[in-house]
Symmetry: C2
Subunit: 405 residues, 2 copies
């Protein structure tokens, strides 16, 4: 599999666009409405937030995807349409307006929203903007669509790859957003993927679950799981491969590529955590099993104290052990080793549960790099897992202290 330039229009049969229509009232230069359209009917599936409070567009999308088919994705930023008056009616009206303009069925539209919770969606602003949005659709529209789904994101998140299935080149790509409200249980993160692979909706759903489990569910920015999370995939089938309808070798090749794409987008999200100045990669090995390793690793990257220490370039490994200790996983503290690593080097700070003397100046140098790895050996079990997070900074507080205005 090779990563290539591109995003949601990399695969054959997809166009996209993104414009400003006015959902974001405070900045006319910020795009706030995105559309992705397939030339042909697509097999499609999505996974959603596990939050009990679910935004209206998720409920509408779930109904629309019941038949495993879709043609378009309509997304606004600036308003979450969650816990807000007339939420479902507005989501449905948005789908209808897009469907009419595209001459497709409203039930083939995937709809999503991200932004402030609890305020009524300005649905007229959206429906009025759809003709212009449709007029801008192009195979070069992925960056505009990626920009239009951003909220506090500082970096546009696009990714694409090509790989072979049965001798045919298959393309897979996507756009994503996510910065705050991110946590292992799919926390607002939105991700829209397209592929020209011929694959059934049922296999897409299975593949998505497999990929999300090892990517978006292994990142955390702040422990808050959003009401609006969604990851959707549409497959146009134009690659010409033999349709994937069971978990055969072709399916496994597709899942492998999907995992790589999702992991790459997930890491971009973690690195773009609100206010973050460091990407933290935490690898736990030697745990009882993969699940135990994942829980330990997630606990470390979710620890506010560890995140604050990394912000301060402070090799405070005691907080790493502390976070492992309250994770709920059983392990022998006296068997734990911890090292910090970056482009500037590696330093072992704890062995068999006890502190090692280390060069504070070197530790500072290592932790001043942007990309930090916390390498943990939790025992001598077979379980290994890597999770990704970021530091917590003054800017995180600033961004979230007054988000609505």
């Amino acid at each position: 599999m090779n990563f290539i330039e591109g995003g949601v229009c990399a695969a054959k049969g997809f166009k996209a666009a993104g414009i400003h229509v006015g959902v974001k009232t405070n900045n006319k230069n910020k795009k706030d409405l995105a559309l992705i359209v397939a030339d042909v009917p697509c097999a499609a599936a999505a996974v959603y937030t596990k939050n009990v409070v679910k935004a209206a567009p998720l409920l509408v999308t779930k109904a629309h995807l019941a038949d495993g088919k879709a043609r378009a994705v309509l997304v606004n930023s600036g308003n979450a349409n969650a816990c807000a008056p007339n939420g479902e009616a507005h989501a449905i009206a948005s789908c209808k307006a897009a469907a009419e303009a595209l001459d497709i069925s409203a039930s083939d539209v995937i709809v999503a929203s991200t932004g402030v919770i609890g305020q009524e969606l300005p649905v007229k602003v959206i429906t009025d903007g759809i003709p212009e949005l449709v007029s801008k659709l192009s195979t070069n529209g992925s960056p505009d669509a990626a920009a239009a789904i951003m909220t506090t994101d500082t970096v546009m998140k696009e990714c694409a790859a090509e790989f072979d299935i049965g001798g045919k080149t298959v393309l897979l790509g996507g756009i994503a957003k996510g910065s705050g409200m991110i946590h292992p249980n799919m926390g607002t993160m939105l991700c829209f993927l397209t592929t020209d692979c011929a694959i059934s909706a049922e296999m897409i759903r299975k593949a998505l679950l497999e990929a999300v489990t090892v990517s978006f569910n292994r990142i955390s920015v702040d422990g808050d799981t959003s009401t609006n999370d969604m990851c959707a995939l549409m497959a146009s089938g134009l690659a010409g491969n033999a349709p994937i309808v069971s978990e055969n070798d072709d399916y496994r090749a597709f899942v492998a590529a999907l995992k790589d794409i999702c992991i790459k987008l997930a890491i971009t999200m973690a690195a773009d955590g609100e206010g973050a100045t460091h990407l933290i990669t935490c690898t736990v090995s030697g745990a009882a099993d993969e699940q135990a390793a994942e829980t330990l690793s997630k606990s470390v990257i979710s620890s506010t104290l560890t995140k604050a220490a990394i912000f301060g370039a402070d090799a405070n490994w005691g907080r790493v052990l502390c976070a492992m200790g309250y994770s709920g996983v059983a392990f022998d503290p006296d068997a734990v080793s911890v090292a910090f690593e970056s482009a500037a080097g590696r330093i072992d700070v704890c062995k068999n549960g006890r502190g090692l003397p280390f060069d504070e100046a070197l530790a500072k140098k290592i932790l001043t790099e942007h990309d930090i790895t916390i390498d943990i050996v939790a025992g001598n079990g077979p379980g290994v897992c890597t999770c990704w997070g970021c530091d917590i900074t003054y800017d995180y507080i600033k961004i979230n202290g007054d988000y609505r205005t």
Copy 2:
């Protein structure tokens, strides 16, 4: 029950002291060693952190309290003696030094530490300081002891009360510390309580569990549960009441007072959260049962996004619903109401899961007060619970970005 002035020396038969011996190397004006001593043998019990990683002094104290008896409490701040070389040996040596100076058995000493994890305890500094510490013991020593167990605390935490048991006046008081690393599962918080009530060690343990459950386990500062948490109670029996050896009316009167004292100390801790500018009281009613109400309330006060919104005096109730939604408790989002309240007034912001129009200026005024209440109705069940937390601020990041130096 009446709250009275005083702390750990309020009850008959207790002396205390606190001095600087040098565990805190960076500031000679900061006390770092505390001692509480009973004139007579005491029934005693303690509860400990649930963190898998337990500090050495906890293990030593657990062994010492196996017989339900104690005479003294020795506590240092500035070093946690957790994950550090020779941890248990140093904790035992500290107990021995105190026991020799006091002419009691080393196994009657409760020992605790709080501070940086992973550095070897400077045991000689402690043992060398014990003679001076013992010479300072007095019935006025509670404030000094309270000061000597502080780390990043900005406020000394003392509390005492008097109440009647069988016509006898009983005194109960304590000192506590806790600011960072605080989370519902007793997260370093230390609390040392003394009473002159005649009560068995078994009943003390039961009473402590009851009281801790509704006090320290219902506060959160940052979701990090420490390796060093401990709450211990010694009873001198000098009040002259009929000894409490079963869960009778006297026991219930004692527990009621203990709960009040622990809740008061717990609220002081939450209000003194690292860098905090607001105390947040979150009351959930209408939940399925008390446990559900507690989980919902804890999820709200633990939500980094909600904490950041309160810091910014932003009535962002969507984050409150979001935090309830990922708490793991089942509830009907369409039945939820939310209001913000303080000395400046009350404002209803959400009813039946939908936003209400509200006066932003009044909301700002309400949320600018120090003490904020989030009042949530989660449905029409009988479950009610109140938890306490604080906002997250620039200073929290500053304090924790470079804690070790």
